[in-house]
Assembly symmetry: C2
Homo-oligomer: 532 residues x 2
């Protein structure tokens, strides 16, 4: 130790919930449950229940490092388990209930989960999987005692008189699995330290802008990439949370308006449904301060409509491997001088890295060549920082480049002002005659055609150019167009040599468990496709 | 290591300046120098110069852990040295030029400073002290080459091609000495880790609310308690800084208006001078977003006037030993529902602890008794957290209570909503008949009298009550009042048994080097005083 020092303070999650209970004990946590019921608790209540839960886990015989699975939507008891599991030194494994059965079997077995906490709504999954989840010794139902012990009864047997289990700040506190478009899902272990650093960075105005007056309704599920760290950041600032276990726009709209919600976070489709609901019912959109949008890019009309409603819109980019926040599209230094149109243009992109995250792009053909931040060069996006993955759970080696960067699998351009713009996924980008074509840009342009409902572009083998783009299109109901119409429509939107060699109309496009277009399945379906 | 991990990332200050230079390279750093000149650089420039400075220090033969002193006001070259010294593994010792000579001799010798960086304005101090600063081997002048090598020439000899020196995140990067009202000043070593955690917490809306659009003019000197961490937090958010090496209100007013300053931070007297300047010249106050006020409490009229001008006012409480941010008076959850009067009342207090800081009060007579957070009980204020002192530099033992808390020396009340209110200093509080009287509350009440310019209250020996309060008063020029007038004025403002046993009129009240009332000197001056 140096000849004088600051205090020793291990970055443990228990500090987060202790702070919330001490400084914002009566700030509310509202839950709208799947059965339509509503409950209200507060940070003091979450803290008390988390302590009881830690005791209850120890009473089951669990030990430090053991894993506890959840299969649940957003609600206060799920929130309790974020702190209750970490508080006894355990690791919470938030399972995505939308995964396919074989994936759910794999991840629970791979993580060696000992307890399964689940929503009654997922009882069918539990019934199906029970015989396959060989490591699970205890089932606890969050909201019913019908088929398993109920969560409230289970923790109700404890008195809450408990000192948090201490340990190293680099101990894991949570594990999330990637959705895995190829191969088995991979586990990412978040550590107490990485989680705490990520969360405190989440408070800043350029991220979630959390203060005592914030009221957040997170639509992003708690099983998805640590819910962007919102539960931890929210506790640090003592915000009010409004949770809904169902994502029905009527419910969300009513909650946002009644509970004074100031902020939301979720994928763009949530807002699409919200627009449709309000329009169909002649309702105004809720007046949020900010809507953080991630998962995929929000379309221009969505950004414009929210901005015109007085809501700051910002993309957040990241992935399970990055905890997940990498970049956020908060206002730039020159924001007040921009026109509305310029603000929309900036907002369309993915934003800038927050302190702690470092990004670079490298040449797709020669990954040792770092590309300039010129807004032109497009390459594989690499990331590094304290909350970026080093090694997947149980992997034999680190998942980093030789010089220590994590390859995100995204293809991106970095602009001179630091703004990052995703242009594709590495495995989807199309190589034609030695040059790269962005499948995503072609798709985004194609869905602007009034008759196109959805579009997916993949590269097909070509004897001369190696690959050429083929666009698969689902038409809107009742609308019609020809392949020539679509190509004509694209001709002033992308470079001429990017224009697809063929446009194929299909009835549907395959999706992954998390709702993204599955190009792997599309490629499998058209494995025998030949360019004319 | 666990079976899977996040990346290793040492919390070093070099990350902070690297981030600023990468993500906000062209965001300006403006300096108004003591000679009236003005220069503009940016984060890329600060980064480049900090690298050159690290090289220049190594070229002088300095090694990791060596201390570099500064005796300087706020300007871009001082900012460079914050990152340049830390970048070569050194420790920056920011000396307060207002200290008395014997204190300056003591702290430079105690810290074993090897280099002295100073402003030309402080050449007289250097000339006086040179023979007494036995450890200092090199003198560099920030803004002139007349008597020593100039800073620009010195770093100009380097090329900036340099990899930051790495090390443990708990290595020290800065040392500040307390002003020391009793005994020798004591050194507080800030570590890379504590500094980084403190700074990232400083970004949040409830602290400095820093984002890309922020423009901060810090009036708090860079030699005072790490300038509240502003240089680090500002770099993390890539804000624009406007520095002034002189605190003339005409200069500050002009800079604030011309440079689009959004935020300032400083002691209340700065605003007092600013009000007087604007009033005397028929000018409007600058329209700041927020004014953070620390050092001592802002009077009500100052808070009201700034708030009416659209500026958010917040007290920040802390001390050298707490890095310094402990509490900040940001808006509470119910802020929008409060009347103006209620907002002013809340703003008068010291605010709430930010995440990381924990506070408690203990009984002044029995420090093992923790007091309730009821807004009534007043006791010794204890603090703990990652940026709170454990041990003073070169001290033989930790400066903590047996159960690990730092006794701040303040007397405070904690309100049920977590708001902390300073009521006195432990050593100034007056014990009368077994009960405690706040000297500060008596002083604050007394200065409300129209004829009172300044007031200081100390406890004097009393045969029956142990101590009784005596109020020393400096009258305003041309105003008059009697001791009876003052007691009468106080009679409806404090409890009857608090009323001073005597009011003594004096020509002046002694002050410390940092401008606070020196009760130690007042007690010395009236050592023979006897209550009638």
């Amino acid at each position: 130790m140096a000849l004088g020092a600051m205090q020793d303070w291990s970055m443990r999650i228990s500090h987060v919930i202790d702070h919330a209970a001490r400084e914002a004990p009566h700030r509310e946590i509202v839950t709208r449950w799947a059965d339509g019921g509503e409950t209200r608790t507060d940070w003091a209540g979450i803290h008390r229940d988390a302590k009881k839960m830690s005791q209850a886990l120890l009473a089951l015989g669990l030990e430090k490092g053991d894993k506890v699975a959840s299969l649940a939507m957003n609600h206060s008891r799920h929130l309790v388990s974020w702190f209750g599991v970490a508080g006894m030194g355990g690791v919470l494994h938030t399972c995505n209930p939308r995964l396919f059965d074989e994936q759910l079997e794999y991840i629970v077995g791979h993580a060696e989960d000992k307890v399964m906490l689940y929503d009654a709504a997922f009882q069918p999954i539990v019934d199906r999987m029970r015989d396959k989840w060989l490591t699970v010794e205890h089932y606890i139902c969050f909201d019913s005692g019908e088929h398993s012990q109920s969560f409230e009864d289970w923790i109700g047997a404890q008195d809450g008189e408990f000192d948090w289990v201490t340990g190293d700040e680099r101990d894991p506190c949570m594990i999330c699995y990637t959705s895995g478009t190829t191969g088995n899902p991979k586990g990412v272990q978040y550590e107490h330290r990485s989680t705490l650093l990520h969360a405190v960075s989440g408070l800043q105005p350029s991220t979630f802008n959390f203060s005592a007056s914030s009221v957040m309704l997170p639509v992003v599920p708690m099983f998805h990439a640590a819910s962007w760290g919102l539960p931890y950041a929210g506790a640090m600032a003592g915000i009010k949370f409004v949770f809904s276990a169902v994502n029905d726009p009527a419910v969300l709209d009513e909650l946002m308006k009644r509970e004074g919600v100031t902020d939301s976070a979720g994928v763009p489709t949530v807002w699409l449904a919200h627009f449709q609901y309000c329009d169909a019912n002649g309702l105004e959109l809720p007046k949020l301060r900010a809507a953080t949008i991630g998962g995929s890019a929000a379309p221009r009309f969505m950004i414009e409509r929210l901005m015109k409603n007085g809501t700051r819109v910002q993309h957040a980019w990241g992935m399970t491997e990055t905890s997940p926040i990498g970049t956020v599209g908060g206002p730039t230094a020159d924001w007040d001088q921009l026109t509305f149109e310029q603000k929309v243009e900036k907002t369309m992109k993915q934003g800038r890295p927050i302190f702690g995250v470092e990004l670079r792009t490298v040449d797709l053909d020669d990954p040792t060549k770092v590309l300039p931040r010129d807004g032109e060069a497009s390459g594989a996006l690499h990331s590094r920082g304290p909350w970026v993955l080093k090694r997947y759970f149980k992997a034999e080696e680190d998942a980093l480049t030789a010089d220590g960067w994590f390859d995100t699998g995204d293809v991106a351009t970095i602009h001179p002002d630091g703004t990052m713009q995703i242009t594709d996924r590495t495995k989807d980008v199309i190589k034609s005659g030695g040059e790269w074509i962005s499948s995503v840009e072609l798709e985004n342009a194609a869905v602007g055609h009034p008759a196109v409902a959805e579009a997916a572009c993949i590269g097909m083998f070509h004897p001369k150019w190696d690959e050429r783009p083929v666009l698969f299109v689902v038409k809107k109901e009742g609308a019609d167009c020809t392949a020539e119409d679509v190509v004509e429509f694209l001709s002033d939107k992308v470079a001429k040599w990017w224009l697809p060699d063929a446009v194929e109309f299909v009835d549907d496009i395959p999706h992954t468990a998390t709702g993204k277009i599955s190009k792997k399945d599309l490629r499998d379906r058209f494995a025998d496709y030949q360019l004319a």
